[in-house]
């Protein structure tokens, strides 16, 4: 109490520090930007209302695309993470290569590779009855995004599993539990709590990264924005799209904070 009163006194004394002035100035710039954005939306309400309906449809496509690929990615990531932690060389090596490729190359390059690269092998895919998958741009995006996020999620999961203390496994073994039960009942639940925060980041990255789908003709939020912009040449379309992405990410962030509070309440002291 005494200490904090003292520091307040010091801060008040040096009220015009360089850092503080710069901070106020930057804050002022941000406020100006926010005000002009708000003004742009309010002053041209009718136009934005018209954009908003189409953009909402695009946002729906974005959420569907990201949601399904995250789920598929999650399913794929568990065996990948286990292979990465495996004591046998071959699965460890293969999983390493997979993760290395998908984390080491840009998502846009992977998307083009699958969409335009595989598109050239129509004969082959028709023979194996998979052309329906590669014909449709939405499915192509879904495939690439799933494979991509699986690599990232596997790394998150692998790190989290490795950071669960050895003593937990040993205690389980001492109690005579089977290895499978130890993994699913003791290690994995604790690992998932550790992985929660990086998982949240991965979802946010996927929401933003999914804009790449617009380049292979999927009308997601970015696709609808590009189409509207090409007809109106109105920069505010991008402003509105950015705000909608921001709302999605911010909503997710808040949900994640609540989720984390709920799941880690037993760790609070």
């Amino acid at each position: 109490m005494n200490h904090s009163a003292h520091s307040t006194y010091i801060a008040r004394d040096k009220i015009f520090t360089a850092a503080r002035l710069l901070g106020v100035f930057l804050l002022f710039l941000w406020a100006l930007l926010a005000a002009s954005a708000a003004y742009a939306v309010v002053s041209d309400y009718a136009t934005y209302g018209k954009y908003f309906a189409t953009f909402l449809r695009g946002a729906g496509t974005t959420l569907l695309l990201v949601g399904i690929s995250l789920l598929i990615g999650a399913v794929l990531s568990l065996p990948l993470a286990l292979a990465r932690n495996s004591n046998t060389l071959l699965p460890r090596f293969l999983a390493y290569c997979y993760v290395y490729f998908f984390r080491g190359t840009p998502l846009i390059a992977q998307t083009f590779l699958v969409y335009y690269g595989f598109g050239g092998f129509r004969e082959f895919f028709s023979t194996v009855h998979l052309w329906w998958l590669f014909r449709d741009p939405f499915y192509c995006a879904l495939l690439v995004f799933s494979l991509n996020t699986a690599a990232y999620q596997a790394e998150i999961l692998r790190g989290a599993i490795a950071s669960v203390p050895r003593g937990q496994t040993e205690a389980g073994r001492a109690m005579g539990l089977s290895p499978l039960m130890i993994f699913f009942k003791i290690t994995l639940p604790q690992a998932l709590i550790i992985a929660l925060r990086p998982y949240g980041n991965e979802i946010i990255i996927m929401i933003k990264g999914s804009a790449i789908a617009s380049i292979i003709t999927v009308f997601d939020l970015m696709g609808e924005t590009r189409r509207t912009f090409s007809r109106t040449f109105d920069y505010n379309t991008y402003l509105l799209a950015a705000l909608m992405y921001l709302v999605m990410v911010e909503t997710l962030r808040r949900v994640w904070v609540k989720l984390e509070q709920r799941l880690t309440r037993h760790l609070l002291r």
Binding site: A18, L21, L22, F25, Y116, G119, G120, R122, W131, R135, P137, I215, T217, G223, R226, R227, F229, S230, R231, T232, F233, Y235
Partner: protein
Amino acid sequence: MKSTLSKLVTLVASLSLITTGSAFADGHLRIGTEGAYPPFNNLNADGSLTGFDIEIAQALCDEMQVECEFITQDWDGIIPALLANKFDAIIASMSITEERKKKVDFSEKYYNTPPAIAVAKNSSITSASVPDLAGKTIGAQGSTTHSNYAEEKFSQSEVRLYPTPDEYKLDLENGRLDAVIDDVVVLSEWVNSDAGNCCKVVSTLPIDPVINGEGAGIALRKGEDELREKLNAAIKAIRANGKYAEINNKYFDFDVY
């Protein structure tokens, strides 16, 4: 602190200066083009530009006695780049439309050709009629009069938009698309080349002046009236002195004006 602030102020001030300044003040004109729209404008593997647009632009520059520099820019951002003063004129087969006129000024047209529909050689589509294309997938380059035409006229078809013609050509070839729409000259050139031997032009479409505009013109920033008048005079001049016909005959077997 003072220096940091003044630096910031200078930065902001100089940023706002970038967007001002007049085109073509010193006998030097910067021309923006796309470079992905053969035979009108195409960026070759060695980095050189060729095509009808480029040669017409060069002829206009010679006529106006100014030095011209070509700058390539992706189609989606070509009008914003003009407005941001990255170049002074767009000569890239841009159709003169009401939507674009709200943002930029145009010269008189320098050519005018109709849109057309191309399909795979073994396609069941035999005409470019609305019922024939209903339920089919049509590809077009985004931000073009052709994409607007497709969305407007073929509302019962699914329209997919691509960044450049190269991509819709790939997708027509591999069967993701049932048809593509673009300028008849562009599609004819493609299907007659080795790259386009998968496909054929079904037929041309009637020009809709509201969508297709008055033909291709040279886009300029608003208020560049002196430049516009000079370009209009130069277009008239090369039409009159045979230079236009000479370039036209190199590319087409009919007059595209």
